[in-house]
């Protein structure tokens, strides 16, 4: 008992290092990757543990930072029926974990032009009528590695509330685990993406200052400056970069103005 606790202290349960090297004093644990048993260091993420075990990722690995949605993984602990879901790059292995990655799930993605479909919920209904096959089983929400209320945003869309759906689905990383679990064969994450696009294009008010800035760019206001920069040598550019004016950290809002004001 004591021995185990000591070991836990020297090897915290976090993923360390960027290569699959067994850290000194690390304990290995058994995990079952696609049904086959491997002994892997207990501190690794699922992705690194798989590489440690000899797997090479050609697909199913992207940013390795928990944001690209390429490495969704399903796992189950020995002796328990409950399925768990996570990203291979973020989830630390545990002893007697049975796992498989589902890097892609063939979910229907509708063809549309955002400028033509208009901003009404009926446009989304017409492109994805399958949302009306939802039975509210909530497996999608249970499967989401980003804790998105998937049933909540599908319900919101059925109720015609695009704004609610866009906001509820904001953290979605398009991994597709929701669709893999759906009884109604709904591609939730594609529907949510459409909702956010419609929300951005038709519902969210446009930023006025962005309009002004875009107009300035289009009128050629910055062309001279860009031409100048383009013609500079690498050394000159580096010098300019190092000498650039910077707003001091923690400056009060509105308390600082650069000396160069030509392009403000």
């Amino acid at each position: 008992m004591c021995e185990t606790e000591q070991k836990k202290q020297v090897t915290p349960r976090v993923a360390t290092g960027d290569r699959a090297i067994l850290p000194e004093g690390a304990k290995t644990i058994p995990v079952y990757i696609m049904g086959k048993k491997y002994e892997v260091p207990e501190t690794l993420t699922i992705m690194k543990a798989m590489e440690f075990a000899g797997f090479h990722f050609l697909r199913g690995a992207g940013c390795r930072g928990g944001i690209c949605g390429a490495c969704p993984t399903v796992y189950r602990m020995a002796g328990d029926y409950k399925l768990h879901f996570g990203l291979a790059c973020q989830t630390v292995v545990a002893a007697d974990m049975y796992l498989a990655q589902i890097p892609f799930f063939p979910a229907n993605r509708a063809d549309y032009s955002i400028d033509e479909i208009g901003g009404l919920p009926e446009a989304i209904h017409a492109l994805y009528p399958e949302i009306f096959r939802c039975v509210a089983c909530n497996q999608c929400t249970k499967a989401c590695p980003m804790d998105v209320d998937v049933l909540g945003y599908i319900s919101a869309l059925k109720q015609g509330n695009i704004e609610k759906a866009a906001k509820l689905s904001f953290d979605c990383i398009q991994c597709g685990l929701c669709a893999s679990r759906c009884l109604g064969e709904i591609p939730q994450y594609h529907v949510a993406q459409l909702a956010r696009r419609v929300y951005g294009r038709y519902i969210l008010p446009n930023a006025e200052h962005l309009k002004a800035r875009t107009a300035a760019i289009e009128s050629g206001y910055y062309d001279k400056m860009l031409d100048e920069l383009e013609k500079m040598s690498k050394e000159e550019l580096e010098k300019r970069y190092v000498e650039r004016e910077r707003e001091p950290d923690f400056a009060e809002v509105g308390s600082w103005k650069p000396e160069e004001t030509r392009y403000l």
Partner: protein
Amino acid sequence: MKISYYPGCTLKTKAKNLDIAAVASLEALGVEVEEIERWNCCGAVHSLTADDLIHQVAPVRNLIRAKEMGADKLVTLCSMCYNTLARANEMMKNDPVKRDTINRFMDEEIDYNGDIEVVHYLSFLKEEIGWEKLKSQVKVPLTDLKIGSYYGCTLQRPTEVGIEPLGHFELMNDMFTSLGAEVVEFSAAAKCCGSYQVLSSLPGENNAAAVVINTAAKEGVEALATSCPLCEYNLGKQQQQMQDKGKIEQNVPTYYFTQLLAVALGLDSQLCHFELNDKKSLALLEDKNYLVAA
């Protein structure tokens, strides 16, 4: 008085004329309406096979939401939502095996055993407001309106969840009498409008709906009132096409009963969103001088 209210998906878009008029009317009658949080689609139809429990999960989840809010009653309006919620509730109350399976499956939710009472808006009006009080609140009596209370299927069948026994239409009839309208009983009041068969039939080719409209017209009904967005779609929105195809002889404007309730209570006619009804519906009410603008 405060009530928990389940609106339903269609009432938030195409049938907001049903929803907004209903909520505004209750508020005018001194009732505070609280929409339950995080509700989902009720499922629209009760699943009829003995072993199919997954399709009962959607209505049960809404009943759990009501319970979480501390409600003992859930008032609802759309006939299909009412039917689906009430039948699932009966199942959870009376079938311990199915109840147990569903509770086990929904392991992320609190257990539910059928302890919420699902109440239709019309029953609530009668029980909690009463026809006498309603009568006293009428600002614009619907004098001369020959109204037919159309219940369709899901307010009456199956009998265990019917808001009234078969062949009785007193709830809506009494409401309209209180509002000053002339109630016309007609023999198609509980005939099916064709329901979801609209998905498999061509526009305007719905014979079941044509039977309802023709019967109503023949038996002296001037306008129909319903509580179901699918009935309104089949009878109201499709009426022009049915007329174009010669399926119906005469136009019968179709309303949600809550729109006419709001009109009689003298509420701003904008609240009733008549623009979502058939054009002729608004014209009839204007002819009769019922409408009040804010």
